[in-house]
């Protein structure tokens, strides 16, 4: 019984932290739009937090450049368990159009484990919301 309550609480209030590792900031603007009145992700209990200590979900944008690898790792380690990572946009998923460049390691999943990939270049706000809701569903029946 307690297990069900904990699972319910965890899926109903995911707090997010935004991290950009070198992208062209198309996705960052769309993430901000997801918090604006027109799309309003707070309906699912999602809030944007300023520090990794308070966050459950790390929203990553941009391909993982070599320079930003240790920074992403450090922020990931500072987040308390249980934590999840959402890769927003094609760059965070696989490095998108920069794949194969000497300065790009690939998607963010080469640096930190990723739970949910949201496609699109840039990912539209409604796609971001759909991804987050699917992540919550995945938690519910895991």
């Amino acid at each position: 019984m307690l297990e069900r309550v904990v699972l319910w609480a965890r899926t109903k209030s995911p707090w997010a932290l935004h991290l950009n590792t070198g992208g062209c900031n198309g996705c960052d603007i769309e993430i901000l739009a997801a918090f604006m009145p027109r799309f309003d992700v707070e309906r699912f209990g999602i809030q944007l937090k300023g520090t990794p200590r308070h966050a459950d979900v790390l929203v990553c944008t941009g391909p993982a450049t070599r320079q930003s690898r240790d920074r992403a790792l450090r922020i990931y380690e500072q987040m308390p368990d249980p934590k999840f990572v959402i890769a927003v946009g094609a760059c965070a998923m696989s490095g998108c159009v920069y794949r194969g460049s000497y300065n790009i390691i690939g998607g963010i999943d080469q640096v930190i484990p990723v739970d949910m990939y949201i496609p699109g270049c840039p990912a539209r706000p409604d796609a971001i919301i759909d991804g987050v809701v699917k992540l919550l569903k995945k938690l519910e029946n895991s």
Binding site: A9, K12, S13, D40, E42, R43, K49, R53, P80
Partner: protein, 322 residues
């Protein structure tokens, strides 16, 4: 029989259980109103209309991993949030809700308990400062120092505003103040300035926008609670919720004539009066942008303090005329 009543008083009605449930309900009201003011919907899918959202946040934080910075003092780090909640809960006991005998001074209502409640409500500010100082994160320390600088700005006007009605009613006992204004409801209008000063300073005490300077200024590092995760953070959020409820209850007792009637009627009055105050706080939170620390201090000394002194002058005049 009296022992059962006291236990009931301590643990169920105005005590532990009621405060916990009611403060989560108030947080939900606040978040919903705040969202509606920004023509958003706010929490929607946890429970009916998102009413269980604060409870979900609380439980989630309870089960999260609890990271303690290694240089921080372990006992202090864990002890502070719990100590904060106890101070605010005891402040909640002194609101004249139920089982308050008007003649014989009992443990939950005695002459001078208004000063005790005001003091207990301002203790959490000191706790925030210590929390920031003990978490050895430079930014949290800075946030803590700013919490203290804000304390001096809003504490004096708040006390002056509360003392206005106490002077008018001629007693320091919350129960008697409430009863006085129940008998002369027309005198409530006299304290209208004090009511607004009280509202603004309560907003500052709760460190909510436009006065959330310690958090916002170091928003990048999450303010005084930067290092708290899991249980500590859950307790601190609960602490601010209960502080909001008890503060609103205090303002309702002093400025809106308390909660007449027995257990049920008193509860009904308590709920609708505190909800009005919380709605006003939420309106303030949505309406204003964030002030800077020097603007906040200047605002309180240029406007709030003189206003509350004028309020006291009016009260003395009216008292003379009575």
């Amino acid at each position: 029989m009296a022992v059962v009543k006291t236990l009931l008083y301590l643990f169920v009605y105005p005590g532990l259980l009621f405060l916990l449930l009611y403060s989560t309900f108030c947080e939900w009201v606040d978040r919903k109103l705040y969202a509606r003011f920004q023509n958003r919907i706010g929490p929607q899918y946890t429970g009916k209309q998102g009413i269980l959202q604060p409870i979900a946040d609380f439980i989630k934080l309870l089960v999260k991993e609890d990271i303690v910075p290694e240089k921080a003092d372990k006992t202090m780090f864990h002890f502070l949030p719990v100590f904060g909640i106890t101070t605010v809960m005891t402040a909640g006991l002194y609101l004249p809700l139920w089982n308050v005998s008007s003649i014989v001074p009992a443990y939950n209502s005695f002459p001078g308990d208004i000063i005790l409640v005001a003091y207990l409500l301002s203790l959490p500010t000191l706790i925030f400062f210590l929390a920031g100082w003990h978490s050895t994160n430079v930014f949290a320390g800075i946030g803590g120092v700013r919490v203290l600088t804000m304390l001096f700005a809003y504490e004096v006007p708040l006390l002056l505003a509360i003392l206005g009605p106490a002077l008018l009613a001629g007693s320091w006992r919350l129960a008697e103040i409430a009863r006085f204004f129940q008998h002369h409801p027309s005198l409530l209008i006299v304290n209208i300035i004090g009511f607004f000063v009280g509202l603004i300073t309560l907003q500052a005490k709760l460190e909510r926008v436009p006065f959330d300077i310690p958090h916002a200024e170091t928003e990048l590092a999450g303010g005084t609670f930067a290092e708290y995760t899991g249980r500590g953070l859950a307790y601190f959020r609960l602490l601010t919720d209960i502080q909001m409820v008890v503060g609103a209850g205090l303002l309702a007792t002093v400025f809106m004539g308390g909660f007449p009637g027995g257990i049920l009627l008193g509860l009904f009055h308590f709920i609708w009066k505190t909800l009005i105050i919380i709605a006003l706080l939420s309106l303030m939170r949505a309406g204003y942008a964030r002030l800077r620390i020097d603007q906040m201090v200047e605002f309180s000394w240029h406007w709030l303090a003189p206003l509350s002194v004028i309020q006291l002058a009016i009260v003395l005049l009216v008292k003379g005329a009575l």
